[in-house]
Symmetry: D2
Subunit: 256 residues, 4 copies
């Protein structure tokens, strides 16, 4: 049974900060955001979690395996090294969609994202250590079939980008609306989704939906694990199987 622990990481009062006392240099903002994301990736990753950059000022993480103390340590470390602080809301549920909604509510209840006095909030419900199992997390790793041959080497870089971006937009909406899943573009032609228990048919359906809606052909590997990393590595190997076997969906879900 899937039980996903989701953490919403929000930079406190970030919008106002970026234009106070006047607009800050864009390259510095880009550097700050992407390095903060890189650091969170490493820190959350140490315990097996995944962070997705999402909007950069609001990042979504799969944090099965991270305790409250782990979250506090990351907040402290950010405050020690950046000119900004972060709040974190945590939610836990069989449905990643519901878990994130719960996590969001923790922050919204504490105040606005642009409240100067709402800083370093940490709250919400964690998955108790004793309840954790090897099947808690499902990760689906999608990519575009032969993206290099179909796009990158053939059309211009923005047309390629539009195609991949459209594939992503169609998939993210469908997986959210129909399958309670949160899907994230992670670079190249790769999309990683955190999902509840879904059948092979559900994935076939999602791939067909994207193909029909925007004409982008996806394949997907699915894995399960105790942490996002465990599930994600299984998914990557399953995706390799798609490449080698010419299949569209491969699931590495032994003894479910």
């Amino acid at each position: 049974m899937v039980t996903t622990q989701i953490t919403l990481v929000q930079i406190d009062n970030y919008g106002p900060w970026t234009v106070t006392p006047e607009p800050r240099r864009e390259v510095d903002l880009q550097t700050l955001q992407s390095r903060l994301y890189a650091d969170l990736s490493q820190q959350v990753g140490r315990e097996g979690g995944y962070v997705f950059f999402t909007r950069f000022d609001n990042m979504i993480a799969v944090t099965n395996g991270l305790s409250r103390a782990d979250h506090e340590l990351i907040q402290e470390s950010v405050a020690n090294r950046y000119p900004v602080t972060v709040s974190m809301g945590i939610g836990t549920d069989p449905s990643p969609r519901v878990a994130l909604a719960d996590a969001t509510r923790v922050l919204q209840t504490a105040g606005s994202a642009q409240d100067r006095d709402r800083r370093e909030i940490l709250g919400g419900d964690l998955l108790p250590e004793d309840d954790r199992t090897d099947g808690d997390v499902r990760i689906a790793h999608f990519d575009v079939i032969d993206a290099t041959g179909t796009y990158t080497d053939r059309v211009d870089a923005f047309e390629t980008f539009i195609a991949i971006e459209q594939g992503y937009a169609a998939l993210m909406r469908h997986m959210h609306a129909e399958h309670d899943s949160l899907s994230f573009f992670v670079g190249g032609d790769n999309i990683i989704a955190t999902c509840p228990d879904l059948s092979a048919a559900d994935y076939e359906d999602a791939i067909a939906h994207v193909s029909n809606e925007v004409g982008v052909e996806l394949q997907v590997g699915v894995g399960r694990g105790r942490t996002a990393h465990d599930a994600g590595m299984a998914a990557k190997h399953a995706l390799e199987d798609c490449r080698h076997n010419g299949t569209r969906v491969e699931r590495a879900l032994p003894a479910d």
Copy 2:
């Protein structure tokens, strides 16, 4: 008159590298990609350029002000500090869309993005230093009107993300197809576009298109300058004017 110099930065043979000899840890790939992007932002930014993360393995930059030697130095610096190398194609044109198409062709002609032997390509046409003017670059900085009040503080973080992502998807396609512009999501609710000479009506039209297509309400500040940074800072200030004046389009284009 606008003359945009665009550089396409492509990590050499990146896809195969990420799965050789077997799939690499996702958190390390995310860290590598986002730090490389942060470094390029700083390096290109030193000369007034902007880099957009785009697909991370293919990044698009506005590089007015960067010479061929500046590009070479960045390639050397990347090779000295990362396990990967980058190729760069450069294009220069009144239309950013055409400039990028030219830049893409430089790399495609040299070989595939997944060619093991195509490494550290550098080619294409730069804007000669003597031809540069204070009006070479147009930057439009869009954001969502009251995104925090409308979305972030009200609906869950993924619904907010979907809304912003849809607004971006609609805008990027429209600006590319109708206005030869390249638009990039840069975090939060912000989209930055590099544009040719466009009228205020063109921007009104783009905003109306997004509103009609996906119901997301945008505003935009437009600036011009010798470099992306110069134009971008003017655009940011113009966007502040939108916020203060309640207007949808503000252009800081004196003495055009």
Copy 3:
């Protein structure tokens, strides 16, 4: 009883790499080295360990709390993100000096630091998890009494540096030769030492030695703990006590 686990981190074949095919840009080498150190600090720090930059191509870490798998993960992560790899030798002993000698031998036995084929070695003896206690690590945190008033604000920046450097050189040799301790300059006027069980008189003696030899006046806070972080935080608080009480040695070693 102190039992220190020391890890020697050595960049593989680094010297030859820096000049192949010709000397690389110094600023890139400096950036590579200091970022690698920063990353290792965070990674080792997640489990409570301390890394010291030492010679940068050879870094020494106090790694109580890090398992063999933790070490492997760090090696993999470095290989995924840097153009170089690292080998690690581990030693465990009541004497930090002996632990490091053992750790060094692991690498020397496996081959030369400039052997092209000796890569990513990992070996040596770890402290078994079951044998760990809250008194395993002793950290002494030294600084120069009123360094700002005596030096930084009064003499030129290089004279200040020479004074602090001389104080460090005298202390590191004395603590190694007389007290089996490894002392590291960590920036500003701060020196952190990993020590065996030493008496207050031993620290008084070390401070007097430095005062007599080079005229630099030190104070020291000493802490103990299960990890370097635990011991180090206790030492920092003890050093604050020195500042407030005007004492030269403060030890936070309750219930030893």
Copy 4:
């Protein structure tokens, strides 16, 4: 004729910040310091300058080629991305020692390094662009002859470190007192010095002094250039000549 422009970079009020409201985690301080140094290396390096980490909270840079605007941009960029700010004093003189003394005085006159209200100072005398020549900077790059064979592969890592550290301590004092030069350990067994016009005999003398005082055998390559980078690359190549020729001093100073 040598004319060195030296910049002293000082983190504002850093000591108090590290212990307010209570001592911050050492690994975060180490990460902050080393990343700030890495960033400054890249930023100063873009214009051909060198930064040395020195005490980390006080860094010394050779900044020939950097304008006042370049300095301001770096200050702004640091403030945008770090929880601390930096002040910079600049001095210009044929003697690096005098240039640094002048640079130090700029900051000392403006207030204490631990003054809460002294922030982002920028002052001092720059070398006018029109006065710059290809011989302005002299860089001497020292290393230990066969450090790997003599030390790294033979004795334990701390004994090696002590030897190299002693060699550095002896050299830095001698070069400062006798030859108005500023010498910095840059990792491995490498020391880089910024020097006035010195003869080959002066370098022979320095090497002999270190050999006599602490028994560490050095060799040195010397280069000149318009910037630290130009001079430093020439010095690196000259040092390669020492290695190949078995000589102790090589100078790449054509047509002085």
